[in-house]
């Protein structure tokens, strides 16, 4: 009995260790996802840290070998929306925060088109932005994104396709908030950059 208990403890410790290693490896992705969801980079890191701790505390409920990235993203997203619900003014603030963050020029030498892409993203409805980021940038399958967002696969598909179309329209019309650059310039820069990148590979 005592022997069995000791053995179980040892296995739990091995499992915890493996869990921690995998969780540590996901931190960069949690930070990136948090940055797309909320306020400035500092607020995003707070959110990512909360989500990381929540995941650690809930480790017993995670089935090792399944998709930990999707699982932690779901935790982070739930954390973000439950914090949001706590404040009645938050929806307004979120929109502003999203615009501020996505628009924030952290690096004044950042490529122009990337800055405009951020501004274009900030103009999308949150659920479309989120779906597009998970599928288009986070590398999730539609099914995984649906699990993370707690909605149907078809819903994710239609959000992503609407987001793509809207974003393209925004970039082509130059509807993002920027003075001085002419309509369509962002799209031209993005096309040129993509071509350059594909040639490098």
């Amino acid at each position: 009995m005592e022997q069995a208990q000791k053995q179980r403890q040892a296995t739990d410790q091995d499992r915890d260790k493996a869990f921690r290693v995998e969780l540590e490896g996901l931190i960069p992705h949690l930070r990136a996802f948090a940055r797309t969801l909320c306020g400035d980079p500092t607020a995003a890191d707070d959110l990512a840290q909360d989500a990381m701790l929540k995941a650690w505390d809930a480790r017993a409920s995670f089935e090792m070998g399944t998709n930990m990235k999707a699982w932690t993203f779901m935790i982070l997203r739930n954390q973000f929306y439950s914090e949001k619900r706590r404040s009645w003014r938050q929806s307004q603030l979120d929109q502003e925060a999203a615009e501020r963050t996505l628009v924030a020029v952290d690096d004044p030498e950042a490529p122009v088109a990337l800055d405009e892409l951020r501004q274009g993203l900030a103009m999308l409805p949150p659920e479309q932005r989120e779906a597009l980021i998970l599928v288009g940038a986070g590398g999730f399958a539609y099914e995984e994104a649906a699990a993370i967002c707690d909605c149907a696969v078809g819903t994710v598909k239609s959000r992503v396709s609407r987001a793509r179309r809207a974003l393209q329209g925004i970039l082509e019309s130059g509807a993002y908030r920027r003075d001085g650059s002419s309509a369509g310039e962002a799209m031209a820069t993005i096309l040129a950059d993509a071509e350059r990148l594909s040639q490098v590979k």
Partner: protein
């Protein structure tokens, strides 16, 4: 649409544009992924792990 094989240049153009936006999206996300992880994250996790060891 695809079956019609119309090979409409505007469709190809639209696809190209979507691909270009996709490349940029990933680039935007990867920029943060590639940032060094602040020490704070690892410290918090280590502290949580140590608390667990003390409890058991």
């Amino acid at each position: 649409m695809k079956r019609s094989r119309s090979k409409s240049p505007s469709l190809d153009e639209a696809r190209l544009r979507q691909q270009a936006i996709g490349v940029k999206l990933r680039q935007m996300f990867d920029e943060v992924v590639n940032e060094p992880v602040p020490d704070e994250f690892l410290q918090i996790l280590r502290r949580a792990d140590e608390t667990r060891l003390k409890e058991t």
